[in-house]
C-alpha cells in the first residue's frame, strides 16, 4: 500500500522545519483568524511556510459532486505546482483529502499518471509528502521548544472538536490519523480537556447554505453538548466547521469557538 506521508524521526529535527503551504479558499478568504494565527504560530516556532505559488481551489465538495473533469484536474494542478523536496502543508481537512486522494490515485494508476504528465507537461513527483498542519505536533514537541509554555493554558476547559476530519474514505485508510492530537498538544500547556461525545459529529458543512435548518440543528446540538459537559470553549480543526459553529448557532449564550491555531497562538503570546 502506498502512503503519502513518512513516519518522522523522533525528537527535534536538526534543521529548521520548512513547508510549502497550501491555504485553500476557506483559509484565504473567510478564515482570516485561522490563517493569521497559523502564520503567527509558525513564526514564533521558527517554522517556515512558503505559500504555494498561484495555487487554485481544490474543487471543494462541488467539483466531485457534479463535474468529473474539474474534480480530476483542479487538485492535480496544485500537485503540479508543489516544489520538490519539501513537504506540502495543508491546514484545511477537506483540501487535504482532495489533494491526497488525487496524489495516491496517480501513484497507483499508470494511465492517470500519463494523463497528468500530458496535461501539465511535467513528470509526476512520487516523493511529494502531503501533510496536515497537525503533523507539526508529531515533529515538534511544544514544551521542548518553548519551556515557558507549560501552564499557559492552565485552568481552561477545552472541548476539542474534530468534525469529520478524522474520518477517511477507504482509499486513505492507511494514512496517518490525527486522532487525539488536539488533546495531546493542549494538555501539556495546562488545558483541561472536556470529552463531550460530539467531537466527531459532522457540522453540516455546505448544507448551511441550501439547508440552514439542518446546519442549525447540528450546530446547536454540538455546542450545547459541549456546554453541558462543562467546556468553556470549543476548539476546531477546520475553518468550515468554525464558520458553521459561529454563524449557525442560535443558542442564547454560546461558548466561544476558537481555531486550534488561535488557542496555540494565544498560549505562545504570538
Amino acid at each position: 500500500m502506498t502512503r503519502s506521508s513518512r513516519t518522522p524521526d523522533s525528537g527535534l529535527p536538526a534543521d529548521r522545519l520548512n513547508f510549502s503551504f497550501f491555504p485553500g479558499c476557506s483559509l484565504k478568504a473567510s478564515g482570516h483568524e485561522n490563517t493569521l494565527s497559523l502564520l503567527k504560530f509558525c513564526e514564533s516556532m521558527d517554522i517556515e511556510l512558503i505559500e504555494l505559488d498561484d495555487w487554485n481551489c481544490c474543487g471543494s465538495s462541488s467539483a466531485h459532486s457534479i463535474d468529473k473533469r474539474s474534480a480530476k484536474y483542479l487538485p492535480m494542478r496544485n500537485l503540479s505546482l508543489a516544489p520538490r523536496g519539501i513537504p506540502l502543508l495543508i491546514a484545511c481537512p477537506s483540501c487535504l483529502l482532495r489533494l491526497k486522494s488525487s496524489f495516491l490515485s496517480i501513484k497507483a494508476d499508470p494511465a492517470l499518471r500519463q494523463d497528468y504528465e500530458a496535461f501539465f507537461g511535467k513528470p509526476f513527483d512520487d516523493e511529494l509528502e502531503i501533510i496536515h498542519f497537525f503533523e507539526i505536533f508529531n515533529r515538534v514537541h511544544l514544551k521542548d521548544h518553548r519551556e515557558d509554555l507549560a501552564g499557559k493554558l492552565k485552568g481552561i476547559r477545552v472541548a476539542p472538536y474534530y468534525g469529520c476530519m478524522l474520518f477517511m474514505p477507504p482509499g486513505l485508510r492507511f494514512e496517518k490519523s490525527h486522532a487525539g492530537i488536539i488533546e495531546k498538544s493542549l494538555k501539556p500547556l495546562g488545558a483541561e480537556i472536556v470529552y463531550f461525545g460530539y467531537a466527531h459529529r459532522c457540522c453540516g458543512t455546505y448544507l448551511s447554505v441550501a439547508k440552514p435548518d439542518v446546519a442549525r440543528k447540528v450546530v446547536n446540538e454540538i455546542i450545547s453538548k459541549a456546554m453541558e459537559a462543562g467546556a468553556e470553549c470549543l476548539v476546531t480543526a477546520c475553518s468550515m466547521c468554525h464558520l458553521n459553529l459561529e454563524i449557525r448557532c442560535t443558542l442564547d449564550n454560546p461558548i466561544p469557538v476558537l481555531h486550534f491555531s488561535e488557542l496555540l497562538s494565544l498560549a505562545l503570546g504570538a
Binding site: 487554485n56 465538495s61 459532486s65 469529520c164 478524522l166 439547508k211 464558520l243
Partner: protein, 127 residues
C-alpha cells in the same frame, strides 16, 4: 435498491444530494465501501439521465461554487451567495447571517484570484 431494479428511484432521491461526504459511514464500514464516492457516481448519473433533481437548491449551490472557481480559479463566497440567492428569488432570508459573516470578516468583498487564468480555462474547457 439498484440491485432490486429500482435504479431510477435511487437517482430521484434527496439522499444522494443531501449526503455531504463526511465519511462517517465509510470509516465504519467493515467492507471498506466508499459510500461518498458511490453518492458522487449517483449524482453524476442523475444529471446525465436528466431526471428531476429533488434538491434544486443544493445543485444550484454546487453550480455557483464551480462558476466562481471557473472565473477566478478560487471560490468567492460573496458572489456564490448573491447569485444563489438571486436564482432562488430569495434575497432577504439569511440576511442576518450574511451581515454576521461580514462583521466577523468571514465574507471578503473581492475575490482572491489565480494569476494563470489559461491553466484554469484549460481545466474547464468543456463546461
Amino acid at each position: 435498491m439498484i440491485q432490486l431494479g429500482l435504479a431510477e428511484e435511487v437517482l430521484k432521491t434527496s439522499a444522494i444530494w443531501v449526503c455531504v461526504g463526511c465519511n462517517t459511514c465509510s470509516s465504519a464500514c467493515p467492507m471498506a465501501i466508499d459510500i461518498p464516492a458511490l453518492m458522487d457516481g449517483l449524482r453524476h448519473a442523475a444529471l446525465e439521465k436528466g431526471v428531476e433533481i429533488p434538491e434544486p437548491d443544493i445543485l444550484n449551490f454546487h453550480r455557483e461554487v464551480l462558476n466562481t472557481v471557473k472565473k477566478y480559479g478560487r471560490t468567492h463566497k460573496l458572489e456564490i451567495m448573491m447569485r444563489y440567492k438571486l436564482k432562488k428569488m430569495d434575497i432577504f432570508s439569511d440576511m442576518g447571517v450574511g451581515l454576521k459573516m461580514l462583521k466577523k470578516r468571514k465574507l471578503d468583498l473581492t475575490p482572491s484570484k489565480v494569476k494563470d487564468k489559461k491553466a484554469i480555462d484549460k481545466i474547464f474547457q468543456n463546461t
